[in-house]
């Protein structure tokens, strides 16, 4: 119900709580008023022009890694 899009922060203007994000080359100014500290290089989840959460890349890394390992396990019939 709520489109969220991942953007990489490429500029932060703390004075007015805005940042520029980049989404595969598409850039837009968004508000970071709903987040605490945001810095260049962070990934944020954007909804309706506001960053609503930071993306935890470590968590992402862990989760895909776990699945990559599991799925590359070739035990036949493995379903869990």
């Amino acid at each position: 119900m709520c489109l969220g899009i991942v953007g990489k922060v490429i500029k932060v203007t703390a004075a007015d709580d805005t940042a520029i994000i980049d989404v595969h080359g598409a850039r837009r100014e968004i508000s970071i008023a709903l987040l605490g500290q945001v810095k260049v290089g962070d990934y944020v989840l954007v909804h309706a022009g506001f960053a609503i959460e930071k993306i935890d890349l470590k968590e992402a890394e862990q989760m895909v890694k776990m699945w990559e390992e599991q799925l590359n396990d070739v035990t036949p019939g493995q379903v869990l």
């Binding site: 119900m1 709520c2 489109l3 969220g4 991942v6 968004i30 508000s31 008023a33 709903l34 987040l35 605490g36 990934y43 989840l45 909804h47 309706a48 022009g49 506001f50 609503i52 959460e53 993306i55 935890d56 890349l57 968590e59 992402a60 890394e61 862990q62 989760m63 895909v64 890694k65 699945w67 990559e68 799925l71 590359n72 019939g77 493995q78 379903v79 869990l80």
Partner: protein
């Protein structure tokens, strides 16, 4: 490759799809029927449709669409009030694109605009504030629709407008809350359900804990999911696993975004601006404390008061023949409505589920209306 991109990796997804399908087969065999899950969130509905996932799980898992499309659940009465707003001289109604075509009892914002009302689409409510500043002779009313995800965005906008002393900006709040709606759905005794896919972006604000009641009160497996192919497959896998193991918990499989307590800043802003009220939902009727109305301290930004908008008279919930009520509760599939695709189409929608592209009926219409004659390429 960023770890984020790997959530859309085709090869990986196809492998996981195999696991999910196999697990689903086992579960279906054990249950003697396909497992029935509800995806609460309309964005999940669309993502599932886009992936063609229903075709791949046919006979193993039945995926039903829940009440999580803010457009679909906005009541006639509220739309009628928005229409009345749009008709006021000097008023510009600002909205997200989603609301434009939703029919009220007599009109829609799209029809009002066509009839001369000033209705404008904004990507962000902040753009509406900027428009108000540039057009001081107009009263700009932004329609606050959406769930917990959108409410803090609107709250932030409001605070910004107050800070900047923008006098010709106000909000018509029709925000709604997801947990009360889930309760309303789950308390239906007729409902047969094996698990829930919970909305990832609502959870980003509310936090995982907000959904613990599902396990405590209804004992159902549930999972918070992201929206990429891997996210959805991981979530399905989790639900099937819980079912398979006879467990029930609120799993968070969107850990890169969703925290236990959610976004505390955002929750604070919601609390500062809004208070919980009983509101009607299309298809679900009035649900206690399921809506957000502006607090008294924000009366000067509350379009209902500033522009003296009377509540519109209540209207029958559905056009005759429309099965949205059952569909929104996850009790019927869109294809089971007898108006689906003959009388009711996205171009000439009858019920609310056909209006938003995220509505269950529209998603089925666009992506799954016919089964193919031949196979894939």
């Amino acid at each position: 490759m960023s770890p984020l991109d790997r959530f859309c990796d085709t090869e990986l997804s196809r492998k996981l799809m195999g696991r999910v399908a196999a697990l689903a087969d086992e579960v279906a065999e054990r249950l003697g029927r396909p497992a029935v899950f509800i995806e609460v969130c309309g964005t999940h509905t669309v993502a599932i449709s886009r992936l063609g996932l229903r075709s791949l799980l046919a006979g193993r898992v039945e995926l039903r669409s829940g009440p999580g499309c803010p457009v679909c659940v906005t009541d006639h009465q509220e739309i009628d009030m928005m229409v009345n707003l749009a008709r006021l001289p000097g008023v510009t109604v600002g909205t997200f694109g989603d609301m434009l075509r939703v029919p009220g009892s007599r009109s829609s914002l799209e029809r009002e605009r066509a009839g001369g009302a000033d209705v404008r689409i904004f990507y962000s409510p902040l753009d509406a504030v900027a428009f108000a500043e540039a057009n001081p002779e107009r009263e700009v009313v932004f329609l606050g629709i959406g769930f917990e995800t959108t409410a803090p965005v609107v709250a932030s906008t409001l605070m910004r407008a107050r800070l900047q002393g923008v006098k010709n900006f106000s909000i018509f709040s029709a925000h709604k809350l997801i947990p009360p709606a889930i309760r309303a759905v789950l308390s239906d005794p007729e409902l047969k359900l094996d698990g829930l896919i919970l909305p990832g972006h609502v959870s980003a604000i509310t936090g995982r804990r907000a959904f613990d009641f599902i396990v405590k009160e209804y004992g159902l497996p549930s999972v918070i999911s992201g929206f990429e192919p891997m996210d959805i497959l991981i979530a399905l896998h989790e639900l099937l696993l819980q079912l398979h193991r006879g467990e029930a918990r609120v799993a968070n499989k969107y850990t890169r975004v969703v925290r236990e307590e959610g976004n505390l800043d955002a929750r604070k802003r919601i609390a500062e601006c809004f208070e919980e009220v009983d509101v009607p939902w299309r298809g679900l009727g009035v649900i206690p404390e399921s809506g957000l109305s502006l607090r008294e301290t924000f009366r000067d930004f509350d379009a209902r008061f500033k522009l003296n908008i009377e509540p519109a008279p209540p209207t029958p919930l559905y056009p005759p023949g429309c099965a949205c009520k059952e569909i929104l509760r996850g009790k019927l599939l869109p294809t089971e409505c007898r108006l689906f695709s003959n009388v009711c189409t996205p171009v000439h929608p009858v019920g609310p589920c056909m209006v938003s592209s995220e509505g269950a009926c529209a998603a089925y219409y666009r992506f799954e209306r016919f089964s193919p004659v031949g196979g894939g390429i």
